[in-house]
């Protein structure tokens, strides 16, 4: 089949695959903060949840004044797991004084290429998420919670709906929770397919019933002006799923795992050319990419013992790394200066058989397709990048196209664009973040894979294009 439409992206042998395969979560001898119940087949039921300590974190929280709970979350430095890594406790503190009501919007729109963790958390342990939402609402004085689940996730929607129905019936959600004066509704909301809605201001637009287009900044945080113009906290599913454990065990126990700047654990998905692609809960801050890609407990090396060519360290928007960066840990303060970001915990691995320009195209096409169209550099630039790159991949490009790719990219995000340092090529890393001409990161994200691929593997592009035969208008010097 492959020969009909040119070369495959890479050779496609799949070592471990049976069908239908259980979604690939692998546990290990490591601390489990958010995945402790995944081993149970009925992990999503209230019965199992209560039998394994469920809702005791809520009870612990309600036994303290709200401000103390907020303080505990601040002390634990729970980093946001949606992509930006902003500490949740600090974010909750950004709401303006005396403006009511305030809302919680849960970001369950998981759709960044390579990212697979929030869906598992919603399908396998919905009560843990619900308990996390309640703790956040209590601590930050949020009077209603909207749990926004990605449209395409039918099973997650079913599991969360069932869990909410159980929790309401048992008095864990709704009026006078556990008999206290704490009352909050959690409303299940679901989308209808649009990646950009994951951006928090677009999420709010969508929740208001509009087209899901990001809002112009400032204000930078919806904590100031969000849903219906009210102070609104937007948190990722995994971020909130950390809170029950935190309330049960305390900030000291939480920060004892990982490093001071990246405490606790985080969920990562490793996909692509590894022997055991899967979702893992890893120790934050200390685990390295090498541990993850080659460790026995994790991915066990590159499939067929091939060479590693490159990997995307933090979701499709992240600049690529090469084997030179394998020893970096999951620590933003090191990954940033090395020219990329940890993003949403999505690692996509490319082995030596990978056709780099084509691999880059699958990402650029994604972002071009998902542009909401609000800003010209993204709407037009993304499409240009996709078209030019397609032409190059199809063998119809010229050497001028390669410069044009960089030029178009430059119009989306002017200035030096981040990429991995690669001593072999005599490059120095350009750290994130970048300057951009767009409202959100979708525009720059269309450029990131092109820029990384072209910077690190230029010869693969050059081999695909024809050199223009430049004929001068007049013969010079005659």
């Amino acid at each position: 089949m492959a020969e009909r439409k040119g070369r495959a992206v890479s050779s496609t042998s799949n070592p471990g695959g049976t069908w239908p395969h259980a979604p690939g979560f692998y546990t290990g001898d490591r601390p489990k903060i958010v995945t402790s119940r995944f081993e149970f087949e009925d992990s999503y039921t209230l019965e199992r949840y209560l039998a394994t300590g469920g809702y005791s974190g809520l009870r612990a929280a309600l036994s303290q004044p709200a401000a103390d709970v907020h303080e505990e979350v601040k002390n634990a430095t729970v980093l946001g797991r949606g992509g930006a890594g902003f500490p949740a406790g600090n974010k909750w503190g950004l709401t303006p004084q005396g403006v009511w009501p305030r809302y919680l919007v849960v970001n369950g729109d998981e759709s960044e290429p390579g990212t697979y963790k929030d869906r598992l958390l919603m399908e396998r342990d919905p009560h843990q998420l619900i308990e996390g939402c309640l703790i956040a609402c209590y601590a930050a004085g949020l009077s209603q919670c909207f749990l926004y689940i990605r449209g395409e996730m039918a099973v997650a929607q079913e599991r969360v709906a069932a869990a909410l129905n159980e929790a309401y019936a048992a008095g864990y959600v709704g009026k006078n929770i556990l008999g206290s004066q704490f009352s909050v509704d959690i409303v299940l909301h679901w989308g209808a397919g649009a990646y950009v809605v994951g951006e928090e201001t677009a999420l709010i637009e969508s929740l208001e019933g509009n087209r899901g287009m990001p809002r112009l900044k400032p204000p930078y945080f919806p904590a100031a002006i969000g849903l219906y113009g009210q102070p609104t906290i937007v948190n990722n599913v995994e971020t909130l799923a950390n809170l029950p454990w935190l309330m049960n065990n305390g900030a000291t126990a939480y920060t004892a795992i990982g490093t001071p700047t990246s405490p606790g654990t985080r969920m990562v998905a490793v996909s692509g050319h590894v022997k055991r692609p899967g979702v893992y809960e890893i120790i934050n801050g200390t685990t390295t990419f090498r541990d993850l890609l080659y460790g026995e407990d994790f991915c066990q090396g590159i499939r067929n013992n091939n060479e590693l060519k490159a990997f995307v360290p933090g979701g499709g928007s992240a600049p690529w790394f090469t084997p030179d960066q394998l020893d970096l840990p999951f620590e933003a303060s090191q990954v940033g200066p090395a020219g990329s970001m940890l993003g949403s915990g999505a690692i996509m691995v490319m082995d030596s058989t990978t056709d780099i320009p084509r691999a880059a195209l699958t990402l650029t096409r994604f972002y071009a397709h998902e542009s909401c169209g609000k800003c010209t550099p993204c709407r037009e630039g993304g499409t240009w990048l996709e078209r030019i790159l397609s032409r190059v991949v199809d063998g119809k490009g010229t050497d001028a196209d390669l410069d044009q790719l960089l030029e178009v990219g430059e119009s989306i995000c002017p200035g030096a664009f981040p990429h991995a340092s690669n001593e072999k090529l005599g490059l120095t890393a350009v750290p994130v973040p970048y300057r951009m001409n767009t409202i959100c990161f979708v525009g720059p994200s269309a450029y990131a894979p092109v820029h990384s691929a072209l910077t690190l593997f230029r010869s693969e592009f050059e081999a695909r294009v024809t050199k223009r035969n430049l004929i001068p208008v007049t013969a010079v010097g005659q």
């Binding site: 395969h21 009501p101 004085g141 449209g151 079913e158 309401y168 009026k175 019933g209």
Partner: protein, 204 residues
């Protein structure tokens, strides 16, 4: 064509009641309409507009932004094959070629019997299980050509009709907030004070 049925209007009103502003229910109600008819009709959009206080043009403006809403009939089963990076690295594009051959249609097309529509989708949050696809948003993981053929056989014979409802039906469990348990939504302008539990004391 179809406005929402009486039962669905009852459901729609329950959904609208959960939000501080009715318009927030637009997308859930569009899903309800798509569940009823298999796609979104003009009448349904006008009806939704009446229910949430928007014009049908505004409802269409919202609906047309989102990939999942279809404005023309599609197959009973919508097969979405993921085409984003992790799946492409594991043979997603080859799977699409195979699917086109097996079904005798091109990406975006529907089989002559109206049973199956084939589309390319973007990352489905199952990247470790590549290549993957969804049938009416129910997953199949690590799909080989043979798996795909089996799937098509099963869809044709009706063997999967319990697991996979017809296009339009998403979650088959709906949230229901019992009247005596819920707090109830209030328009933001009707709330002027902070929540009672922020009084410096423990709630329990």
């Amino acid at each position: 064509m179809a406005r929402l049925t009486e039962d669905n209007v009852r459901l729609a009103k329950e959904i609208i009641g959960r939000y501080p502003k009715p318009r927030s229910a637009t997308i859930p109600l569009l899903h309800l309409a798509q569940e009823q008819d298999g796609f979104i009709t003009n009448d349904a959009m006008a009806h939704i507009g009446e229910l949430v206080g928007a014009t049908s043009a505004e409802v269409y403006g919202t609906a047309s932004f989102y990939e999942m809403f279809k404005f023309e009939p599609v197959g009973k089963y919508l097969i979405n094959i993921c085409g984003t990076m992790s799946c492409a690295l594991m043979g997603g594009e080859e799977l699409m070629h195979h699917a086109e051959d097996r079904l005798g249609i091109k990406m975006g097309g529907t089989t002559a019997d109206g049973l199956i529509t084939l589309e390319r989708a973007e990352c489905q949050a199952a990247c470790t299980e590549a290549p993957c696809l969804q049938v009416n948003y129910r997953y199949r993981f690590r799909v080989t050509s043979e798996n795909f053929d089996t799937l098509v056989d099963q869809l044709q014979s009706g063997a999967l009709s319990d697991e996979i409802p017809p296009h339009g039906t998403m979650a088959r469990v709906r949230q229901h907030i019992p009247a005596d348990k819920g707090v109830g939504a209030k328009a933001p302008e009707d709330v002027s004070e902070g929540p009672a539990w922020l009084n410096g004391k423990a709630a329990l």
